[in-house]
């Protein structure tokens, strides 16, 4: 079977193409402990978003809506260009616009960042998910939501360090960017990358994307962006959606991109020690009770207790039988 596609630019294959992203390519699966190791490892893919090339045209949003057949609401204007106003269950990717005055040059910079799932190597959503198989991770790096297994609990929302998943109010399932797993599975790159007119969004193997980013960073440094760099945060084991930032030393200026994202310690505690210690304690208590019940003498009322009670209360008008 063929490996993942290495570009989003090419036209779709015309020949019959077998789905290349099956259960056998999963390297982790939510709420599933004993996943057999996959027989093959797909090449890791990545989407690289070059913020310095992005013109904020929203073609990616439009392509995302079209491909995923979603229907985001027609909202109000609230004084900004960002529409919808946040990621929604119907909008998996969003251009976030920040007007930032560079304190060094006093020049305005209009920072436009395409927000969406980062496809972490260590995905917090998957860690938090209680429903077996609702979130899966493939060996090519894609973290995907399997909606028929989703119970809509919203734990993924709490697990995600990037605030990405959204729960639908209609079908109560979690939605986010799939990195177009359904396209990648048949040899095509993500719809957003395909639609991006300036190739600010490119797609390929993670190694290629890192190399491509290096070229971009060199170019940006030559244009005076001394802190240009790649955003591939190690706190989540690296991501399969990466950014080229002109100011990689301060990701937060890009509408709150986390400076050093990692799965929250609270979530780690919840999904780690609490889960194991809690289950152990409950099992122990239940077992101890049963054992005690079986082996220990029950606390029975003795005949003299009844006698004492009768004595205290005094004889009744009649004998009871």
């Amino acid at each position: 079977m063929p490996d993942s596609p290495t570009t989003a630019v090419s036209n779709p294959p015309v020949q019959e193409f077998v789905n290349n992203l099956g259960a056998s390519d999963m390297i982790s699966r939510s709420a599933t402990g004993d996943l057999p190791p996959p027989a093959r490892r797909l090449t890791e893919v990545a989407k690289l978003i070059d913020v310095s090339k992005c013109i904020g045209c929203k073609a990616c949003q439009s392509a995302c809506i079209e491909w995923n057949d979603t229907s985001p609401a027609i909202e109000d204007n609230v004084g900004i260009y960002m529409n919808p106003h946040d990621l929604t269950p119907e909008m998996f990717t969003l251009m976030r616009f920040s007007e930032w005055v560079n304190p060094e040059t006093d020049n305005l910079e209009w920072l436009i960042r395409k927000d969406g799932c980062m496809h972490c190597t260590d995905p917090g959503c998957l860690k938090a998910c209680p429903a077996p198989g609702a979130i899966v991770q493939y060996s090519n790096g894609i973290v995907d939501f399997v909606h028929e297994n989703c119970i809509g609990c919203g734990y993924c929302v709490k697990g995600c360090p990037f605030n990405i998943p959204r729960i639908s109010k209609t079908d109560h399932r979690a939605y986010k960017c799939t990195l177009c797993s359904d396209r990648v599975a048949v040899g095509q790159g993500p719809a957003c990358a395909k639609a991006c007119p300036t190739q600010a969004i490119v797609f390929g193997t993670k190694a290629d994307m890192i190399k491509h980013a290096e070229g971009r960073i060199t170019d940006l440094k030559s244009r005076g962006y001394a802190n240009a760099g790649l955003y591939d945060p190690p706190g989540v084991g690296g991501t399969h959606v990466m950014y080229v930032l002109h100011h990689a030393d301060k990701p937060h200026i890009y509408d709150g991109l986390p400076d050093n994202p990692k799965i929250s310690a609270v979530v780690q505690t919840w999904k780690g020690v609490t889960k194991y210690v809690g289950l152990a304690a409950m099992s122990f208590a239940a077992a101890a009770s049963v054992l005690h019940g079986v082996f220990a003498k029950p606390n029975r009322v003795a005949p003299e207790d009844d006698a004492n009670a009768e004595r205290l209360v005094g004889g009744g008008p009649e004998e009871r039988t």
């Binding site: 013109i55 073609a59 985001p72 027609i74 609230v78 900004i80 529409n83 190739q199």
Partner: protein, 811 residues
């Protein structure tokens, strides 16, 4: 475009001024990012707003709308003063060395020959001093005080960096940075491309805006070379095609002129179109005008066009005015002089200025036919939509007939892009409901009209009865039939002029290109510049071979480009006087001693010797014009004039309001606002999320930019107490609108001539029909005045006032 979209990737410097390419042309803008990423090209943006294009620029400079000429003349002055001139190019390929008549002069904003009464010039003095041989006199040393170069130097002298700052509000340092960056492209191996759009055309000095940059590009040697050029980014996917095939009232197909009233016969008509060369040995290609004209007449009227009847010259309508542009047409309609209107693919009540006047005009009609794939506001102009279209339906008697048409994706045919590429496309879907192709509708109208003329006669039925209509199905001409007709064919066997035994094109065959057209009635061609698009080689527009032999993005076998598949106009100028490329790494053509060779079709006779024949063959001089002679109504050199509604007086001559030769109608003059009442400088523009008034009908686009807004600076918002996302009322002398406020750092107040000028930006995509929220547009406010030369309305600079308000009542 002189060049093509794909060629932009070859540039060293992109200047986006008078446009917002990333916003309005995101797909074409990819070539800018290619140039930046692969060549290290720089991008400069000069705009009143920090735009999406600015967001990826290397340098941004603010400018007050309507002052681009002052800015660019300032750059020209800088280049001359700092020797940033491509001298060999400027001397040999422009008219810098030609001598101008003594009578010509310029003082305080006006040239010789001005008649204030007529608002027009007598332009006879705006020409070269001719020698006894009939050729223009020349001084190649550029020493003659009356040579174009010295007149230009003198003309631009007042546009100092300080003056630029006073007029444009651009801080001097920022202006100088831009000038320095531009100046670098004067090196023969450096290229700058100018990408502009409606930000230059939609001004009362629109033509001159573009001309000023063209002059700068000539001085820098950037015309005709790869990565250079004057690149107009056409807004509509086929607006280039619209002008090419003559849909403007003053043109026939291929930019042939519509005859005017005083040209009562063909001889008179052609007498002003002889275009005798003004310098020895020059091509002056318009000498072929009669060939193109006669071939057009033969295409239209076939056998009815004969030498005896002047090729049916009398069949053509003659203009009684310079043009029936949209402003004039609606002025006539407003005055009750038009009673029927065919509106094909237009939405005038949103698209044309001063909506109140447009609505009143449409209400004067007896009938209005709209042909559109969408239910447009114009089709519903009579319908009350609360404050969004507050009309009294009962008082409107206009009968509206809506003819639903197909949209581009349901049609076959070609679209001509900005780079003059005619790209054939095929339908991607079937039309819904009763929608019909425009060809079918026009065919039906024609066939029925002809039947009426046949039956009833009429004052002059000949042009209708004799119109060539030889399509397979007369009810619906097919796109390929029309394309073949435009290409043209031989009506008899065409013999080689030098060898009468040789047949070049047999009768009935398609001509290869316009070089085979003749003025003796033996050829026909519906649009000479399109000749070659569908010849005996087949439909060249449908070619999809993206081979790029020299790796520089010529793609000669991808579709077809007019003229004769030439991808870069004036490409002869990419080589020096000896015919060697200025930059061998970006070679287009080279003179091999006998002929021109290279990857593009030479824009000159292939055997024209480089040192003899100038590269600008369409001009009688053979060179490009820094001095435009009498070709433009408002001056042979550009002059800074303020917009008709300006927050400041004209620094050069405070007495002059607007462009002095612009046509204005009296009722509109009464509706011009002044800064005391309307202190803020407004401008209108488009947003990337939408396409004109179409995509608000689409849920996806509507979700991405749902509601009408205006943009203003944080400073003005604070002054006026306008909160982010709050409601504001914006009004001009002509109307009032309500909008959400986008308060932004991207617009900052400018200081012009000591006065703080606040700018208000008004995007135009909303109306009262479709999926997006109901809203207004800038054209409820814009003035009913246009450009001096082509009457394009001044949408980009007008005056308004603003105040916070409450939201509208729901409707």
């Amino acid at each position: 475009m002189t060049n093509s979209w794909t060629d932009i990737r070859n540039t060293d410097l992109v200047i986006v001024m008078g446009g917002n390419a990333a916003e309005a042309h995101p797909c074409g803008f990819k070539w800018v990012t290619e140039a930046k990423a692969n060549r290290g090209a720089k991008l400069i943006v000069v705009d009143p707003r920090y735009t999406r294009t600015a967001s990826v620029s290397d340098f941004y400079a603010p400018i007050r709308q309507g002052t681009d000429i002052a800015f660019l003349l300032g750059v020209i002055r800088y280049c001359i003063e700092n020797n940033k001139v491509q001298w060999e190019y400027a001397k040999n390929f422009t008219n810098a060395a030609l001598i101008v008549k003594d009578a010509f002069a310029y003082h305080d904003g006006l040239f010789t020959g001005y008649d204030a009464e007529k608002r027009d010039y007598d332009r006879t003095s705006w020409d070269y001093e001719l020698g006894p041989d009939g050729f223009a006199q020349i001084d190649m040393t550029l020493q003659h005080p009356r040579c174009v170069w010295n007149l230009l130097k003198q003309h631009v002298d007042i546009y100092t960096p300080e003056m630029v700052e006073r007029i444009c509000g651009t801080p001097k340092e920022k202006f100088l940075t831009v000038a320095r960056m531009i100046g670098e492209s004067s090196a023969p191996d450096k290229a700058m491309t100018s990408m502009y759009a409606l930000g230059w055309t939609q001004h009362s000095s629109g033509s001159q805006n573009i001309r000023t940059m063209a002059m700068l590009q000539l001085i820098l040697g950037n015309i005709g070379i790869r990565g250079g050029g004057m690149n107009a980014l056409r807004g509509h996917s086929n607006i280039q095609g619209l002008t090419d095939v003559g849909l403007l009232s003053q043109y026939m197909p291929g930019y042939l002129n519509m005859p005017v009233e005083k040209e009562t016969n063909l001889k008179t008509y052609l007498s002003t179109r002889q275009f005798k060369p003004l310098r020895p040995g020059q091509t002056s290609y318009w000498q072929n005008y009669p060939k193109f004209f006669v071939s057009l007449q033969k295409a239209m009227f076939g056998a009815a066009a004969t030498a005896e009847n002047d090729w049916a010259y009398d069949y053509l309508p003659k203009l009684d005015v310079p043009a029936y542009d949209v402003l004039r047409t609606f002025e006539l309609m407003f005055n009750g002089k038009v009673n029927g209107y065919f509106c094909q693919g237009f939405n005038p009540i949103l698209a044309f200025p001063n909506r109140a006047k447009i609505t009143a005009s449409l209400s004067n009609l007896k009938w209005l036919v709209t042909m559109d794939p969408l239910d447009t506001e114009t089709s519903r102009f009579w319908q009350n939509h609360g404050e969004y279209n507050d009309v009294d339906t009962k008082s409107i008697q206009t009968e509206v007939i809506q003819l639903p048409t197909t949209c581009f994706a349901e049609e076959e045919g070609s679209l001509t892009n900005s780079g003059r590429w005619l790209q054939w496309h095929w339908p991607g879907g079937s039309p819904p409901g009763e929608a019909k192709h425009d060809n079918w509708i026009m065919g039906q109208i024609f066939v029925r009209l002809r039947a009426l003329y046949r039956k009833e006669g009429g004052a002059f039925p000949d042009p209708i009865l004799n119109l060539t209509w030889d399509y397979k199905d007369e009810n619906e001409p097919k796109p390929d039939e029309l394309a073949r007709e435009m290409n043209g064919r031989a009506l008899t066997d065409l013999h080689d002029p030098t060898d009468a035994t040789k047949i070049v094109v047999p009768a009935g065959k398609q001509v290869a290109n316009f070089s085979q057209l003749r003025d003796d009635g033996t050829t026909s061609s519906g649009c000479w510049i399109y000749s070659g698009c569908f010849n005996e080689a087949g439909n060249n527009m449908a070619r999809r071979d993206n081979t790029d032999a020299d790796g520089l993005g010529t793609y000669p076998n991808w579709t077809w480009s007019w003229p004769v598949n030439r991808r870069t106009l004036y490409n002869r100028a990419s080589a020096d006087l000896q015919g060697k490329p200025w930059d061998p790494s970006r070679k287009i053509l080279e003179w091999d001693g006998a002929k021109w060779i290279g990857s593009d079709v030479p824009d000159i006779a292939p055997t024209a010797k480089p040192e003899e024949v100038g590269p600008f063959i369409m001009n009688a001089e053979g060179s490009a014009r820094l001095f435009a002679r009498g070709m433009l109504r408002d001056g042979p050199f550009p002059v800074h004039y303020e917009p008709f509604e300006s927050p400041v007086a004209n620094v050069i001559n405070p007495e002059i309001r607007g462009n002095p030769v612009v046509r204005v109608f009296l009722d509109d003059v009464a509706q011009f606002g002044t800064p005391d009442e309307f202190p803020y400088a407004a401008t209108s523009y488009r947003l990337t999320e939408h396409f004109h008034f179409w995509t608000k009908h689409n849920r996806v686009n509507a979700a991405l930019q749902p509601e009408f807004f205006v943009e203003l600076s944080e400073e003005l918002a604070k002054e006026k107490n306008i909160p982010l996302g709050g409601w504001v009322r914006v009004w001009s002398k002509r109307g009032s609108i309500r909008a959400k406020a986008v308060v932004t750092k991207r617009i900052r107040p400018l200081i012009c001539n000591g006065k703080t000028v606040h700018i208000i930006g008004i995007p135009l995509h909303w109306g009262f029909m479709g999926e997006a929220k109901k809203g207004f547009g800038p054209n409820s406010l814009t003035p009913f005045v246009g450009d001096a030369n082509i009457d394009t309305p001044e949408y980009k600079a007008f005056l308004v006032n603003i105040e916070p308000t409450s939201g509208p009542a729901e409707v």
